[in-house]
Symmetry: C2
Subunit: 115 residues, 2 copies
């Protein structure tokens, strides 16, 4: 291939890549980072690492499976958990959107469980 | 103190200790060991170490606070948890006595959480 042909090909490739980048979807918002922001309201009871043992009646949640956290938070939000401290968690969960819950769950799962 | 007086004192002390041992309450039954026996029915879903991730919708429970496990199991037993998989846990918890729940909670807390 001649040098000029190679230059033309390189330009064409660059143009094609640029076009691809323009139509590629934006990077998804970082659920874990958004969850970290929301977690501020959880930390006083559950600990900054999600593993507080100050009030043993409250569960350790750091490292918990995100899929389970979603189930639990939705159940609290929708009044389907009526256990001893459920009323408190229901109040906390009521204003959360589905996206908030997904983000919180992703952040909780990301917290080091020590394993 | 003479040697014979020392012997008498030693005998008296031994008698007193024997009497104390006789009236001391029997060692409490080992809740953790009893809980381990009951945990057989929990292990298929929650893992032998309580930290199964085979079904992410099920929570990791190994090392969880015993006080919280008591609250959760009683709530399931008494139908106060109506979340996604709550019906299954309610069936599991229904036959459990308060003592069964206390023992299970002690065993679950004793499981290594990695910390």
């Amino acid at each position: 291939m001649s040098c000029s042909a190679l230059r033309a090909l390189t330009r064409a490739a660059a143009t094609a890549l640029g076009a691809l980048a323009a139509v590629a979807p934006a990077a998804p918002p970082d659920g874990i980072a958004l969850g970290r922001e929301k977690f501020v309201q959880c930390a006083p009871c559950h600990g900054a690492d999600g593993r507080s043992t100050v009030v043993p009646q409250y569960p350790k949640i750091g490292g918990q499976s995100a899929a389970y956290v979603v189930i639990a938070l939705r159940a609290y939000r929708e009044g389907r958990r009526l256990g001893t401290f459920a009323a408190m968690m229901s109040e906390v969960a009521k204003p959360l959107s589905d996206a908030d819950i997904d983000n919180l769950a992703a952040y909780v799962e990301s917290l080091d469980s020590g394993k």
